[in-house]
Amino acid sequence: MVSAVLEVSGLACRRGGRRVFDNLSFALTGGELLALTGRNGSGKTTLLRALALLVPSLAGTIRWKGADVHDDRENWRAKLAWLGHQDGLKGDLTAAENILVAQRLRGQPADVDRVAHALSAFDLTALKDRAARTLSAGQRRRVALARVVAAKAPLWLLDEPLNALDAPAQKALNEGLTRHLAEGGLAIAATHAPLDSARILELGA
């Protein structure tokens, strides 16, 4: 039995006095993908934001390799790669610049090779010098996913990663996920569509 890397126990969140979820517990080991499913408003996004400590949780603990993540928030944030509901791209920067800036904002030196690799994985090499505002919604989503891949983070938190993606892009995402998991990484994705080899946690059931 492999011991869990990420342990969540008894997590509870409220918004506007309304209970979003209560007493939520799960554990993930290296190489595991957790798919959060459930209807709209069942708290998938809130759970992702609570895991990233963007939203305070009312009760419960989040442990990474046994240590409570609240004790060292900056260290915890260094472990996360985030894909939010919005893409988080600056329209006036090019696709490549967006990813390079994101790397530097994470306190890492800009790794041009890694960025080029991530861009080509999502078939963006031809678009890399186009300003992000000129890209289509699906293309922007791909840039945001390339940013996640380039981030060198052990835990990916993805909110609806398949949104606006066409079939080749979905395949690229699945390949990227597979590679990330094979390297011992973890991923949690809120999604409606099925993802390969994912464990499923249904919220609001």
Binding site: R14, G16, G17, R18, R19, G41, P56
Partner: protein, 239 residues
Amino acid sequence: MADLHFLANPARFRRFSQRVLPALWLVTALALVIGLYWSLVIAPPDYQQGDTVRIMFLHVPSASLAMAGYLLLAALGASLLVWRHPLAALMARATAPVGATYAAVCLITGSLWGRPMWGTYWVWDARLTSFLLLFFLYLGHIALSRAYDDSERGDRAAAILAVVGAINVPIIKFSVDWWNTLHQPASIMRLDGPSIDPSLLWPLLWMMGALALLFVALVLMRTETEIDRRRLEIAENQD
């Protein structure tokens, strides 16, 4: 399913305030009647200012209480930010308009007093100008706390503003005093002298107490309303 657990504390507050409020209103009314009679009828007119001095009995206490009210607002804001105390947010919502009203009373009585003394309703006197700015700080707080669809966000944003504002109040006061001496070197007649006759001091202190009671009663009453309003909001948001 209604989930009102987080209001447990406010519910206890509500039971408490419902028991206290009737008695508090009675004491407040009594204190105000006595204080007004004392300051408007019994207290002697000032030898320089005549009966105009009676405005002071309303002006000075409302100024002090408007200032104290802002400090209360900052304390409530800090306790919301640090302990996430839901009652603090509701009480801050209740306090801000009361404090703003006291600041407005201070400004209005100040300018009424200014008419016979200075010959005009408004002069850029240091005290009046600082209270005008305090009034603006209150307005900002009220507007910010009500500017969000999600009232809890408004609560937290206004709490941060109140804390920063309270740190800035003495700085604003200092800079306005500086500005005033720079531009108006001639000393203007002050509304509160350092040596005040006891026959005026006692009714002044009494009015201070009475208006403080009124402040507390209004805040408690408004907090009850805010609790009810928040409950309704939550009930509406349930699916």
